[in-house]
């Protein structure tokens, strides 16, 4: 079966200049488990577009690196 990658506008935005390499706070609290670290940069990013816009990631980030937008389809 042929697969393609569709571009999507993701709800969780990470400010890489503030994201701490050794911190996993957002990754650990996400109910949907959609955040991971980029192994090359050590920064968190939204790997899976499966967001409940519930905000624990944003609230628990110690440096305020995360902004959650309402997903585009609902915005």
């Amino acid at each position: 079966m042929a697969l393609t990658n569709n571009r999507v506008d993701v709800p969780v935005i990470v400010d890489e200049s503030k994201c701490l390499d050794k911190c996993k706070a957002c990754i650990e609290v996400c109910p949907l488990d959609v955040l991971v670290k980029n192994p090359d940069t050590g920064k968190a990013y939204m790997k899976y577009d499966e967001c409940w816009f519930c905000l624990p990631c944003e609230k628990e980030c110690p440096t305020g690196a995360i902004t959650v937008q309402i997903p585009f389809l609902l915005r």
């Binding site: 079966m1 949907l32 905000l55 997903p71």
Partner: protein
């Protein structure tokens, strides 16, 4: 895929509201027993109250109401279909739970005299107790789990219940990060995995833009069914009046005690009571179909300080991203009504009344298997009911396991389950879970969204059964995608049950939740009973049959006392 074997005395599947309370109560009752909480996410922020809650809806507080009054009100609101003894538990023990939560640091609203500041949202009686600072409720619960030294395994999703000679003896699970398989033996198992919140497709088209926490995909409904447990009244859907597109509560429970109300496009009331019920939803549906829509939560007639107070609660609790949703659209409660819509369907006994059949001790029909919270059929049980049912189940289970040994796991079953879990991973170029889930849930909307039509439901049922073949085409590229694939199995089971049960009950009941166009009236002569779905263990077919209600504890004359919230 490694197989990890664990043995415990009591296993709690799902670390949400019911699960955290159950684990604490089990450990308190039997400190030497091993108690394990298995959680698909992380218990610090999981389940329906991941971001806290702004109040409790079923608080029976001495001096304000009695358990009997509460049971009567729910009996009428649920059109008579309930086991009163289970609902009675929520009334009897809810106050205990509230006091205990206070000891743990949860704050409930009190008046100037220090008494609980209860509000009336129900048709009759005051049962709503605000918790304006309830945002950290889940953190407080998980702290109690930790304090009681209860073992927690996060990021493992249960996939099936293990049985031996009709008794529950454990579960299988999937580590959603490593892809390892868990085989956990336990003397008793409590399923408290929440609602089936991903059944219908939200009108936005976003798979996870659901009212319920979308982690709750009907896992427990499906696992209990596959193990041979009875489920009851699955045709009684959950349908909520929600903020259009955002799909969260507007939220009249918070705002109506301040003077807000649900209004039609002309700004007038059309329902007399904002408590969620199928009857209320039918009034919303009628209003929308009468040309008087859209409906909205009206606050713009209130003064500035009142609106600010409402905002401080709504923008901090339960679904705090409401604030940025409104801001993004330039909406302000001072000027604009909150446009509401009828949600897609789900299954949730916390709000309506469909779930795994339980008795007053939260026992399912399978020995050793308990159910609590949103997935256990105790009508209109809400958060207090989740706490109470978790506690009741745990305390009963700790007695049950005293004379029980661990069962023997059937290695053939484990191998079959392992193959089932491996299939999508072995097919990485198969159809992605997003597309498979989208189509399944669109069919749910197309064929099951009330009002219900017989031919539609029949087509739906056939499609859901055929969809088993589509599930064989699923492809996953990592354990995370595999989790989503296996959740679609849960959703499909729930969809089939929802169609089967809706076709079976040839009457209308619970307002919009089960409104059949071909049988528009309630028929108490034939249908004042439970409908039970159960898997035949002979041929694995889904069976459905009637079962008598348990005798009432309190007589209620349902011909006289009709739940009517229309405004004449």
């Amino acid at each position: 895929m490694e197989i990890i074997n664990i043995e415990v005395d009591f296993l709690v599947v799902g670390g949400g509201t019911a699960g955290c309370m159950a684990a604490v109560k089990a450990k308190q009752k039997s400190p030497d027993s091993s108690v394990l909480v298995l959680e698909k996410a992380n218990i610090r922020r999981s389940g329906a109250i991941a971001m806290g809650m702004d109040g409790v809806n079923t608080a029976v507080i001495p001096g304000n109401s009695t358990p009997e009054q509460y049971v009567r009100e729910i009996t009428i609101a649920n059109d008579g279909i309930l086991d009163q003894s289970a609902v009675h538990k929520t009334g009897l023990l809810g106050f205990d739970v509230i006091q205990e939560l206070e000891e743990w640091g949860v704050k409930f609203q009190k008046d100037n005299e220090g008494k609980y500041d209860l509000k009336q949202v129900h048709r009759v009686g005051k049962y709503v107790l605000p918790m304006p600072e309830g945002k950290d409720l889940k953190k407080i619960l998980s702290r109690q789990v930790k304090r009681n030294k209860i073992k927690v395994i996060n990021r493992v999703m249960a996939t099936s219940v293990l049985t031996q000679n009709g008794r529950a003896i454990g579960i299988t699970g999937l580590d959603v990060r490593s892809g390892d398989m868990y085989v956990i033996k336990s003397k008793a198992i409590l399923l408290c995995t929440g609602a089936c919140g991903r059944l219908g497709l939200p009108a936005s088209g976003y798979l996870y833009g659901t009212y319920e926490n979308p982690t709750n995909a009907g896992d427990g409904y499906s696992m209990a069914y596959q193990a041979g447990a009875k489920l009851s009244n699955i045709e009684c859907f959950q349908i909520n009046p929600l903020i259009k597109d955002y799909n969260g509560p507007a939220c009249a429970y918070v705002a109506s005690p301040f003077g807000a109300y649900t209004a039609n496009a002309t700004g007038n009331r059309f329902i007399s009571c904002d408590y969620w019920s199928g009857q209320m939803m039918l009034e919303v549906w009628r209003e929308l179909n009468s040309g008087k829509g859209p409906v909205h939560l009206k606050m713009y007639h209130l003064d500035e300080s009142t609106i600010s107070e409402i905002e401080s609660i709504l923008f901090d609790n339960e679904r705090p991203s409401r604030e940025r949703f409104h801001a993004g659209r330039g909406e302000n409660y001072r000027r604009d009504g909150v446009e509401m819509n009828i949600s897609e369907i789900g299954l949730c006994s916390g709000h309506s009344a469909s779930g795994v059949q339980v008795d007053e001790f939260m026992r399912t029909s399978i020995p050793g298997l308990y159910a609590a919270g949103d997935m256990a059929n105790v009508p209109h049980n809400y958060m207090i009911g989740a706490f109470v049912s978790g506690r009741v189940a745990a305390e009963h289970a700790m007695d049950y396991i005293k004379d029980i040994d661990h069962g023997d796991v059937d290695s053939d079953f484990i191998n079959t389950e392992r193959e089932r879990l491996l299939a999508p991973l072995n097919n990485p170029n198969g159809i992605p879970h997003t597309q498979v889930e989208y189509k399944l849930r669109r069919f749910v909307n197309d064929y099951l969204q009330p009002p219900k039509s017989p031919k539609n439901m029949k087509i739906g049922l056939e499609k859901f059964i055929d969809y088993k073949n589509v599930l064989d085409e699923l492809g996953a590229r990592d354990p995370h995608e595999l989790m989503r694939c296996m959740e679609i199995h849960f959703i499909r089971d729930c969809a089939e049950m929802a169609a089967k049960a809706s076709l079976y009950r040839t009457e209308s009941r619970w307002g919009l939740y089960h409104y059949r166009l071909d049988f528009p009236n309630r028929n108490d002569d034939e249908w004042m009973c439970n409908t039970i779905i159960k898997k035949s263990l002979e041929n694995n077919e889904m069976t459905i049959f009637k079962e008598d209600l348990k005798p009432y504890l309190f007589d209620v004359n349902l011909n006289k006392e009709k739940y009517d919230v229309s405004v004449a």
